[in-house]
Symmetry: C2
Subunit: 218 residues, 2 copies
DNA sequence: TCTTTTCCTGACCGTATGGTCAGGGTGCAG
DNA sequence: CTGCACCCTGACCATACGGTCAGGAAAAGA
C-alpha cells in the first residue's frame, strides 16, 4: 500500500470544509444585505444570489430568516465585545479610552455593515437580542463604568458620568460606520482617505480625552 | 340681506380641515411605523390601523408607500434644519454649540421616531433623499464649518477639524434617540427621567465644550 | 463494491403585501 | 334644490415573499 494513512480520520474532508465555507459565504452575504435593506427589506433570494447559492440551500443551513439574522447579529456582538480588550489593563484614561476609540474606529472602518445591522436591530427595539442587552451588555457596561469611576476617584480625569461617557464613545465611533454614506456624500462623494481616517481618529480622541480632563498638556 | 359676507370664501370649511387632519394622522402613524419596522418592514395596513383609517384611504392621500415615506423623511429634515437656528448669531462657541446641543437633545427626546427614520434612511444609502444630502445638507454643513473655522481663527476655541466636530455633535445627540431602547435597557428598563436627561445634556456639553477649548474655566 | 448518511436544489405552496377600482357618500357653489 | 367635484372604502388583483419537500448527487463508512 503506497498510502500509510497514519491517522484514519485525519483529513477533515472536503465535507465539513465545504460546509464551513458555505456558511461563511451565507453569513457574509446576509450581513451585507441586512445592512443595506434592513431585516424587513432583505430577502432570502437576494442573500442567496449574493452568496452564489440557490435559495433552498440557505434554508438547509439556516432554517429561517430569523435564525440567519440572529447569527449575523451575534457575530457582530462578539467583535464588539473583543474591541473592549483595549480598555482593560490600561493604567490611565488617556491610554485606555484612547485605545478603545482607535479600536472602535477601526471596526467602523472594517465592518461597517455589521455596525449597521446592530444599529438597525437596536433601533427597532432589539427584538432578537434583547436578552444580550439585559445580560452581557449590561454587565460589560457596569464593569467599564466602575473602571472609569475608579479613574475619577484616583483623580486621573474629571468627574464625568461614566454612563454618558460610554454612550458618547459608542455614538461617535459607530457614527462613522452607520452614517458612512452621509459622511461620504459630504466628502464630495468620495470615501474617506487613509489620512482622513487618521484625522477623524485624532479629532475624536482629542475632543473626548481633553473633554474629560485626561490629557496632561493644555 | 342679513349676511354681509365680507369675504366670500372665508371659512376654510370642514372639507380642507378634515383633509389636513387626516394627512396629519397618517404622517404621524407612518413616522412611528417606519421607525419601528423600517421601510421594508412597515406595511400600509399597519400604518392605516394606527391612523384609524382604511388602507385604501392612505392611497387616496399618498399614491404609493414611497411617496408617504418621502414626506415623512422630508418633514424630519425640516425640523432638523430649524434646530440649527440656535447655532447662528451666537457670539462664541460655548453659547452657539451649547445651544445647538440643547436643541438637538430636545429633538431626540421629543421626536425619537423621526430621528430613527432619518438614521435608517441614511444607513440604507439614502435612496430617497440623496439629493437633499448633496444640496441642502452640504450647504448647511459648509456654512457651519466656516462659522466654526471663524471661531478658531479668532482664538475662541482650539483648532479642531470643523467637519469632525459636526459629526460628533450629530452622533452624540442623535444617539439618545436612535439608541434610546439600548439606553433604556441599560437604565434598568426605565426611560430616562427628567433629571437624567438634564444630566445627559450637561455631560455632553461639558465634554465637547471643554474638549474643544471653548470653556473659560479649567 | 454496496449502504448509509449528508448534502443539495428545482419546483412548488400558502400567505401577505402594495396597489387598484368601481361605486357610493358628502360638503358646497349656484 | 340640484349638480358637481371631491372624498371615501370594501372588495379585489398580481406579485413576491418565506418556507417546504421529494428526490437526486456525492461523500463516508464497511
Amino acid at each position: 500500500m503506497p498510502d500509510p494513512s497514519p491517522i484514519p480520520r485525519l483529513k477533515p474532508g472536503r465535507r465539513s470544509e465545504n460546509r464551513r465555507e458555505n456558511q461563511r459565504l451565507i453569513l457574509a452575504a446576509a450581513e451585507k444585505v441586512f445592512a443595506e435593506a434592513g431585516f424587513g427589506g432583505a430577502t432570502m433570494q437576494l442573500i442567496a444570489d449574493m452568496a452564489g447559492l440557490p435559495k433552498a440551500n440557505l434554508h438547509y443551513y439556516f432554517a429561517t430568516k430569523e435564525e440567519l439574522y440572529r447569527r449575523v447579529v451575534q457575530d457582530i456582538f462578539e467583535i464588539w465585545l473583543h474591541a473592549a480588550d483595549s480598555f482593560d489593563a490600561a493604567p490611565d484614561p488617556a491610554s485606555g479610552i484612547g485605545a478603545y476609540i482607535d479600536a472602535k474606529m477601526e471596526i467602523s472602518r472594517r465592518h461597517p455593515a455589521g455596525s449597521k445591522v446592530w444599529a438597525s436591530e437596536v433601533m427597532h427595539g432589539a427584538p432578537v437580542i434583547q436578552d444580550y442587552l439585559e445580560t452581557t451588555l449590561r454587565e460589560w457596561t457596569g464593569g467599564r463604568a466602575a473602571l472609569i469611576q475608579g479613574w475619577i476617584d484616583a483623580g486621573k480625569m474629571d468627574p464625568i458620568d461614566p454612563q454618558h461617557l460610554l454612550y458618547m464613545l459608542w455614538a461617535t465611533t459607530q457614527h462613522y460606520a452607520d452614517f458612512g454614506h452621509q459622511i461620504e456624500t459630504l466628502n464630495g462623494g468620495a470615501p474617506l482617505t487613509e489620512a482622513q481616517w487618521q484625522a477623524a481618529k485624532a479629532s475624536v480622541k482629542q475632543i473626548i480625552l481633553r473633554g474629560i480632563g485626561a490629557l496632561p498638556g493644555a
